[in-house]
Every structure is written in structure tokens, then in C-alpha cells.
């Protein structure tokens, strides 16, 4: 098959191996598309053609010299939360508008070691706080399927870029659904691994106990290739799991006979839009045809995920974002009367409204006299939710349900009501609270033609199995091969 814009990573590797295309040609092609569609989609924050082409040429030289690496010459775009030495890294914030990263994150380094070529830095909700990409200081990313709609968030640029063919794959981060929800909104496959599988070193922290890096791609097969490159133990991250490297593609071809899919009744209630419920039902029918059986499970404490999350995430964020004080880097107000005023103004000017809101919530729940009622209670609920899942995995292998209760919505639909926005993450947050792996794959459209995602939540470290499940579904369906006409 000839290489084209929407070739998968696996196909692109083959095209490079077959010398159908060079790394420089690939990079040039995607950079041209990125430039052309930047006004319409606003997917990138920073492109640096020169840097990218140097990397691509180096990859071609390596290939010519007979050197190998699993993904040598394949382009990838990174969410602008990953530090890459010499690249501006903004985290979608005015605070870091002019910040040039002096070191490279482990995940990006791992992907470079696997031969991947950096295309650019992708737009995102400011400090990864948002579900619609409307909080970015650099303006919202548009959904390439319908530019009046949001691409999801916080990794909106990561989703839009791959969906629109501005990159064959991208990285994102997921603290409460920031990979899975935009993957659904843009008809992509996205995976949040088990907490600790990907190093957090060099990724700007939002909520340290919830953040995980993960890939966006068109297929589960690509996600397996990408995760194999990204993941691995890192001594620079005390929460990195010290375990041997895994090949996440190893189980892709395993048949689904006897796979037990747990369906939590809490994921199929009234909150789910009818179009989504129908698409998910249809997908489950496919799974049954593939040999899987479905069992009902109950996760009674999952309904407290959102409240618990909105304690844990802001608490950790309020502390993590204290380093943005205008002293060593980042925005400093032009006018101030003294040190205190410098802090107060620099942070008020450098952060957007949603970030400030979350910092304030965090400061409040941690402040004297409130810790037990909030942070400690949320920590206990995390345990209860994890125990719910533990019980469920006694009778099933994976848990499935819709990725989000609604499909991509119009710009402005929720931006004035934080709570409405937060509830969009109602099904994704639990996996961050427990640290389990979770992914979303395309499984249809609703009445409005908007894309629906199936969420698969796996047991700890079951990524290879989940990717196998999604891959088998994708062999039987073609939702994931649909592309926007842009």
C-alpha cells in the first residue's frame, strides 16, 4: 500500500523500510500541512522547521548507514507540556510564554532514542487544566471534524493534529481524562498507561499522583508501538516503576475468545447521551461476536470520583504551581512595589482564570483545619474506588463503557460553568485516582455525527491485553479509519 497522509505509524515504518518515503519527506509533508492548517485548527504552539528537518536528516543518515531503531524517521508531535531542550515549552500558559527548556523529558528522550523525529509542540489547555482546550493562552484548538466544536482537552492539540493528519502520532498527558476524552472527540485511539509506566521527569506537573504520559494514534496497534518506545523505568522519577522493558505489541493478535468484559452499571445510567449509549451497545455486540462475554459489575464508589478528584488535583496543583513565582523563570509583572506585590501580580497575570481557580481550591482544601475533611477524605475515597475495581476484576478481565457522557460540544457551551465542564470527565477520572491503565478507541457516531469512544479500563499493568482487545475490535471495524475532510 502506498504511503499517504493518514498512513498509520506501523505503515509509515514499513514505507520508510521500503524506501517509499524518507524521513525528511515525511517531516516536510507534515510540517507543510501543519503550517497550512494552523489558522484553521491552531493545533500547534511552536513549530521549528529547521530543528525538525535536522532531526529528520539525521534519521535518514542513520538509515543510510544501516543503523536501526524501531521507529527511525517517524515523525511525532509532542504536547507542549513536555520539555525538550532548546524548544520553547509553554504548557499553554502566558506564564511560560518565553520559557526555553534547558533539558529534555525522559519520554521525549526515549522516543528520540527509538528514532522518532519531533515535529513541534502541541497546543493544550493551560497547565493541562481543562476538557475543551478553551483555557489555552494561545487560543483554543478546533476540532478538525467540526471547527465549531471543541477537540476535547486538555491534550486538544495532540488529538486534533493526528485527526487532521498534521502528524501521524502524538503524545499527550492524562490527569483526569486528558488523553481519552480528546481521543474520543477526534476519533482517535489514546492510552493512559498505569501510573508509573511512563516517567514524569521533564513533564510539567499538574497533579503529581495522577499525571501520566501516553500516546495518541489512529490505531491500537500504533499505540502499542508508541508505548513501547515511551515507557520504561527512569531513575529521575521516584514514582517510576522499576521493571523490565515491555513489548506492548506482543499480544495484539490474541483472539478475544472468553474475554470477560465487565460493564459497570454506573457507566450506563441516565447521564449518558442516547447516541453514545447506542454506539457503545453496538460496539459491545461486535465484541461478543469476537468471542467476548459481558458481565455486569458494580463500582458503587465511582460516583465520588469527580468530587475526590477536584480535591486531589487542585491540592497537588496549587503546590506544584508555586514554583512559578517569577524569580528564576517565567512571567514577571512589569510593575510591582515589593516582593509580595511581585509575586501577587506575576501570578495573577501569568495564570489564566481556570488555573487560578484550581490553585485557590487547592490552597483552601489544604489550609489549616480543612486537610482531614478534604485531602484525607479524598485519599480514602481513592482507596474505596480502587477496592471496587479490585472486586470487579475477580469476575472480568477489562471494564468497558463510554469514554465521556457527551460527544464534542460547541465552543462556549460549558466555559462559563466549571462544574458542567468537570462532569465531562466523570467516566475517565476514576482510572487516574486508582492509577489503572485506561484507553479510548473509536466506536461510532451519535445523531449529530460526532464521534463516540469506548473506554477500556484495565487492571494494573494490563496495557498489552487492553491494546490486544482494542486491536481485535479495530480489525473487525473501520471507525478508526475515518478521517475528517479538511
Amino acid at each position: 500500500m502506498a504511503w499517504n497522509t493518514f498512513s498509520t505509524v506501523a505503515e509509515t515504518v514499513k514505507a520508510l523500510d521500503d524506501k517509499q518515503v524518507s524521513a525528511v519527506e515525511l517531516a516536510t509533508h507534515y510540517l507543510d500541512r501543519a503550517d497550512a492548517l494552523q489558522p484553521a485548527l491552531n493545533a500547534y504552539v511552536t513549530l521549528d522547521r529547521e530543528k525538525t528537518l535536522v532531526e529528520a536528516a539525521a534519521a535518514d543518515a542513520k538509515r543510510a548507514a544501516g543503523e536501526t531503531a524501531p521507529l527511525l524517521g517517524v515523525p511525532i508531535a509532542h504536547k507542549d507540556i513536555y520539555l525538550i531542550e532548546g524548544w520553547r515549552t509553554t504548557c499553554g500558559s502566558k506564564m511560560l510564554e518565553n520559557f526555553i527548556a534547558p533539558y529534555t523529558s525522559t519520554v521525549v528522550k526515549n522516543m528520540s532514542d527509538a528514532g522518532m523525529v519531533t515535529l513541534g509542540k502541541l497546543n493544550m489547555d493551560e497547565f493541562a487544566m481543562g476538557s475543551s482546550n478553551e483555557t489555552s493562552y494561545f487560543g483554543p484548538v478546533k476540532n478538525p471534524w467540526d471547527v465549531s466544536r471543541v477537540p476535547g482537552g486538555s491534550s486538544g492539540g495532540s488529538a486534533a493534529s493526528v485527526a487532521a493528519g498534521l502528524a501521524p502520532a502524538s503524545t499527550g498527558t492524562d490527569t483526569g481524562g486528558s488523553i481519552r476524552q480528546p481521543a474520543m472527540f477526534c476519533n482517535l485511539t489514546g492510552l493512559k498507561p498505569t501510573y508509573g509506566v511512563c516517567s514524569r521527569f521533564g513533564i510539567i506537573a499538574f497533579a503529581s499522583s495522577l499525571d501520566q504520559a501516553g500516546p495518541f494514534a489512529q490505531t491500537a496497534e500504533d499505540c502499542a508501538l508508541l508505548l513501547t518506545a515511551m515507557a520504561g523505568f527512569d531513575a529521575h522519577d521516584a514514582t517510576s516503576l522499576d521493571r523490565p522493558k515491555e513489548n506492548y505489541s506482543r499480544d495484539l493478535s490474541r483472539p478475544l475468545n472468553g474475554l470477560r468484559i465487565g460493564l459497570p452499571k454506573e457507566f450506563f445510567g441516565e447521564g449518558v447521551a442516547p447516541g453514545i449509549a447506542k454506539a457503545v451497545d453496538d460496539a459491545l455486540t461486535v465484541y461478543r461476536k469476537l468471542g467476548a462475554i459481558t458481565v455486569e459489575v458494580s463500582l458503587p464508589n465511582v460516583k465520588y470520583s469527580v468530587p475526590a478528584y477536584y480535591v486531589v488535583a487542585p491540592a497537588e496543583a496549587s503546590s506544584n504551581l508555586s514554583r512559578f513565582d517569577g524569580v528564576r523563570y517565567g512571567h514577571r509583572a512589569a510593575q510591582y512595589s515589593d516582593l509580595m506585590d511581585m509575586y501577587m501580580r506575576s501570578r495573577a497575570e501569568g495564570f489564566g482564570a481556570e488555573v487560578k481557580r484550581r490553585i485557590l481550591i487547592g490552597a483552601y482544601v489544604l489550609s489549616h483545619g480543612y486537610y482531614d475533611a478534604y485531602y484525607l477524605q479524598a485519599g480514602k475515597l481513592r482507596r474505596l474506588i480502587a477496592e471496587d475495581f479490585k472486586r470487579a476484576y475477580e469476575v472480568c478481565d477489562v471494564v468497558m463503557g463510554p469514554t465521556a457522557p457527551e460527544t464534542a460540544f460547541q465552543f462556549g457551551a460549558k466555559s462559563d460553568d466549571p462544574v458542567k465542564m468537570y462532569l465531562n470527565d466523570i467516566f475517565t477520572i476514576c482510572a487516574n485516582l486508582t492509577g489503572q491503565p485506561a484507553m479510548s478507541h473509536p466506536c461510532g457516531v451519535d445523531e449529530a455525527g460526532q464521534h463516540v469512544g469506548m473506554q477500556i479500563i484495565g487492571n494494573y499493568l494490563d496495557e498489552a491485553r487492553m491494546l490486544n482487545v482494542a486491536h481485535q475490535y479495530q480489525l473487525a471495524t473501520d471507525w478508526h479509519r475515518k478521517h475528517p475532510s479538511i
Binding site: Y82, L83, T89, C91, L96, F99, A101, P102, Y103, S105, R200, F201, G202, I203, I204, A205, A207, S208, S209, A235, H236, D237, A238, T239, A315, E316, S318, S319, L321, S322, R323, F324, D325, V327, R328, Y329, L339, M340, Y343, A363, L366, S367, H368, Y371, Y375
Partner: protein, 508 residues
């Protein structure tokens, strides 16, 4: 109410702090009980920082030892230094404390330019070391056990310089992330003297264990002293004020003395003590409350999500236990029992590892233990103090001192000439004891024929003294012996000279 009790109470006069007018007041010191607790920040002797691989060396150019972690760059994460954990455990074992095999790092959140993350990583609810204590010995020879509350690991902050720039302060983060063990006592000290004795004992111990270099000038060992007073017999503690960052024992003594008097004066004047953090000004000898913080400190502690629980494994604990040196207290007891030293001498020789090892080296080389102790605590200490040298830098090493003592014991030299030998060794005039004795002709005259000859010469010129002695003046004998010694240039064996003189006079 206590200010009315006057008659039999000793009083003390002092000038009140400047700025309040020089106002002479009489205090009733004996009516008050002083309550003191200490928090000591000891910088641990690791070569790298607690959460990064930056050097901890002192004195580098600003910000040259500050990595992405120490600067709190976005995305940087802390990684725990094993050396810091080992030192904390070593301390805990030395003070008989509980080692908490599972402890938690927390974030203490506040903004300050020298605190790059906007929080300090410290241990809050679960420190690595709980309890334990230290025995202190006071000048009068009495001792007291000082209970410790806890010791916890944390990171140091950076430094700000305020003089170098016009209208600005400079921030240097070289010190940020240096490992600290904060050692906290119960409020069990009852005088400045006890507090100083505790601080000195702790200072000796951490150096002895080699976990802290103890350099107070460079800030490696800094004490915060909590002081309160209460009427004698009252159970409840008074309100305390915390004297911050004392970096010399002398200042600590002055600061406590001033603070105690100030607090008593305040209360006796009918005012209440407000809880406060105070600084000691060495120039004025006074303590002064820091400008009150604009907001009551609310540190919003919570467990650091970047750092899973710190677990001290059984294996690590066993390994450190096995490597523990003999502790000063045990060593002191052993010096008394094994070498027959007085408790006081044993204590002095056992507090410092280098002293103790010098002593034992000298004794093992054959020196008489009590004489070695006397020489170390006498001539040697005096010479070291005079030249501000540590015992490791002593020009007279343990083996030479041992040889010197051996020559006294075997009668080659006497105590007086031994001092001459010591000085020659100290100044480097000669390399061995025997060489000095030889070169200076200091060998004691123990040949009775030679001594008798000198005695005869002296007696021939001492008719008056002989008469005095015969008349019952014992002292006259000593004077004659003295003349004999002088005539022998100090070399005559004093005991022999004494015996010969007595025998000869008695025979006259």
C-alpha cells in the same frame, strides 16, 4: 503577683532593651523556672544533595551547584539520597531512638525567594527517628538525660544576599537541597547551662558519628532555642519565644540569658509574652522579635506525591547497626574500667572520636594510661588550644607521646625534663623522644655515685640549711634537694637525690 515578694529574694539588675529607655528593674529570678527546648539543624555530610546529584561543597560561586531539581525547573522531580537516610538512621541508633522503618515526606508550602519550589520537602507527621535521648554532664559533674522528640530529614533552603545589589536581593540556590537532619528535644532543659551542655554534647556526637562536620561558622550546625518561663511550681508551660539560627555556643548562652531576663521582666511588669520568633543580635547582646509575618503561617502540609514512603529495610538497619562505632557514653565507661581513668578524665577523652582514638593508640603503643591521659589533658591540650589546632593536626603524634611517657616511667627522664622533650617534639626540633633526650643531654642521672658527688658538693655549702633541718625544719631538706637538682641541671633522679640527701644529713 510575684513582684511583691521581695525581702529574701536575690535580685538582679539589668538595663532594659535600648529603645525602651534605660529602665532599671529588679527581677526575682529564683521565683521562676526556665523551660528550654532545642531544634537543631544539622547539615549532613553527604557529597550530593538530598534530592539531586548536585554537590554540597561549601563556598562555590553562586548558583553553580544548582541543578534542574534544585532550581525547581518545570518538570524536575526529587530523587532520594541514600547517604542522607543512612546518616539519619545512624543518629537514631546512637541516641537509642526508634527508627521508623516507614516514614513520609511532606510538603511545607510557603513563598520565599530562596525556596525555589514554593515548598520545602520535610517530614511532618511521620519522621524517620522518634524518641531517644542524650546524657549531658554539667560543670559540677552532675548529669541529666535530655529526651528527644524526633529527628527528621529535610532539605535546606538557598540563600539571599541583600547588600550586593542596589534595590534588589540576589538569590543563590547552591545551598538549596542540602540534606538536613532536624533534631528536636522535649522542653526538658531548665537553664541556659543545660541548653549549652546539650548543644555541645549533640555537636560532639554528630561529629563523632561523622554525619555532620559541625562547622558552625558555615551554618552546618544551627540551633533554634525555644524559651519560656513559668512561676516555680506551675505545671503549665509559659508562652514560648523561639530564638532562631544561633550559630555559636557563646551567642546561645548570651541569647538565652537575655531572653530569660526579658521574659521575666515583661511578666513582672504585668505584660504577657506573645508567641514569637526572635533573632539574637550579637552586637547588642539582645534578642528582638522578627517583624510579624503578614499572615499567620499556614503551611498547608500534605504528603509529597512525588516521593513514595521512605522504607528503611531490615537489611539496611542491620548493616548500619553493625557499622556503628562505640558511642561516647560506652567508651567513657570503658575508659574508666579498662584503664582506671577517673570518670572526669574518661569523659573528656571519650567525647571526641579523634581524642579517643589518639588516647587508645598511645596506650596500645605501650604508654601508661593515666600518664597518657594526664599529658593529653595537660600539655597537649594546652599546646593545641594555644595554636588553635585539632588533635589530628598535632605535631606530636600518639606514638611519640607514648614513647615520651615510657621514658618517664622507665626513669630515663623526669616530669620536668619531659616537658622540654615535649616542646622540642612539638616545635619539630627532633623526630624522636630518644633523639631529643640525647641531643639535649636530658637523660636523668640515676647513677648513685654521680648523685652522691653532687650532694657532697652541695652539702659542703649548706651549713645553715643543715642546721635548720636538724632543728626540725623539714622544709630545709627540700631546699637542699632543690639545690642538688639545680646543680645537676635537672637531670638527677629526684627520688634518688632526695634519699641520698636525707641519708647523708642524717649521718652527719
Amino acid at each position: 503577683m510575684f513582684s511583691q515578694v521581695t525581702a529574701l529574694t536575690p535580685t538582679l539588675t539589668l538595663s532594659r532593651a535600648a529603645g525602651e529607655g534605660v529602665n532599671t528593674v529588679k527581677l526575682h529570678m529564683s521565683q521562676w523556672e526556665i523551660v528550654i527546648g532545642l531544634e537543631t539543624h544539622t547539615q549532613l555530610t553527604t557529597v550530593s544533595k538530598i534530592f539531586s546529584g548536585s554537590s554540597t561543597a561549601f563556598g562555590a560561586a553562586p548558583n553553580t551547584q544548582a541543578s534542574v531539581v534544585d532550581l525547581a525547573l518545570p518538570g524536575a522531580l526529587p530523587v532520594m539520597n541514600k547517604g542522607a537516610v543512612e546518616r539519619a538512621v545512624k543518629f537514631g541508633l546512637a541516641v537509642g531512638a526508634t527508627i521508623n522503618q516507614r516514614s513520609i515526606f511532606a510538603r511545607k508550602n510557603y513563598f520565599y525567594p530562596d525556596l525555589p519550589k514554593g515548598y520545602q520537602i520535610s517530614q511532618f507527621e511521620t519522621p524517620i527517628v522518634s524518641g531517644g535521648g542524650l546524657t549531658i554532664t554539667l560543670d559540677d559533674g552532675s548529669s541529666k538525660y535530655i529526651e528527644l522528640t524526633r529527628a527528621h530529614l529535610e532539605e535546606d533552603a538557598g540563600k539571599s544576599v541583600h547588600e550586593q545589589f542596589d534595590g534588589a536581593s540576589g538569590v543563590d540556590l547552591n545551598r538549596a537541597g542540602t540534606p538536613l537532619l532536624e533534631i528536636v528535644t522535649e522542653p526538658v532543659m531548665r537553664s541556659g547551662k543545660e541548653a549549652i551542655a546539650y548543644a555541645k554534647t549533640l555537636h560532639n556526637l554528630v561529629r563523632y558519628l561523622d554525619i555532620c562536620d559541625g562547622n558552625m561558622q558555615d551554618g552546618s550546625f544551627r540551633c533554634d532555642v525555644n524559651v519560656s518561663v513559668r512561676p516555680l511550681g506551675q505545671k503549665e508551660f509559659g508562652t514560648r519565644r523561639e530564638i532562631k539560627n544561633l550559630n555559636s555556643f557563646k551567642f546561645m548562652q548570651q541569647a538565652i540569658d537575655f531572653e530569660v531576663r526579658w521574659q521575666i521582666a515583661e511578666i513582672e511588669d504585668g505584660r504577657k509574652i506573645q508567641q514569637a520568633t526572635v533573632l539574637f543580635n550579637p552586637d547588642t547582646g539582645e534578642t528582638k522579635a522578627m517583624r510579624s509575618k503578614e499572615d499567620a503561617m499556614d503551611y498547608r502540609y500534605f504528603p509529597d506525591p512525588d516521593l513514595p514512603p521512605l522504607v528503611v529495610s531490615d537489611e539496611m538497619l542491620a548493616r548500619i547497626k553493625a557499622s556503628m562505632p562505640e558511642l561516647p557514653e560506652a567508651k567513657c565507661a570503658r575508659f574508666s574500667s579498662e584503664y582506671g581513668l577517673s570518670h572526669y578524665d574518661a569523659l573528656l577523652l571519650s567525647q571526641d572520636g579523634a581524642m579517643a582514638s589518639y588516647f587508645e593508640t598511645a596506650v596500645k603503643a605501650g604508654g601508661d594510661a593515666k600518664l597518657v591521659a594526664n599529658w593529653m589533658l595537660g600539655e597537649l591540650s594546652a599546646a593545641l588550644n594555644r595554636e588553635d589546632k585539632s588533635i589530628e593536626q598535632s605535631p606530636v603524634n600518639a606514638v611519640r607521646l607514648s614513647n615520651l611517657v615510657a621514658r618517664i616511667v622507665d626513669g630515663t627522664i623526669n616530669h620536668k625534663t619531659a616537658k622540654t622533650v615535649f616542646e622540642a617534639l612539638w616545635s619539630g626540633e627532633a623526630a624522636s623522644v630518644d633523639a631529643v633526650i640525647e641531643a639535649k643531654g636530658l637523660k636523668q642521672i640515676s647513677d648513685s655515685g654521680a648523685i652522691e658527688k653532687i650532694v657532697d658538693e652541695v652539702l659542703a655549702k649548706s651549713a645553715a640549711q643543715i642546721a635548720d633541718y636538724k632543728a626540725g625544719k623539714e622544709k630545709a631538706l627540700m631546699s637542699i634537694v632543690g639545690m642538688v637538682m639545680k646543680a645537676s641541671a635537672g637531670k638527677a633522679n629526684p627520688a634518688q637525690a632526695n634519699a641520698i640527701v636525707k641519708r647523708k644529713i642524717d649521718a652527719l
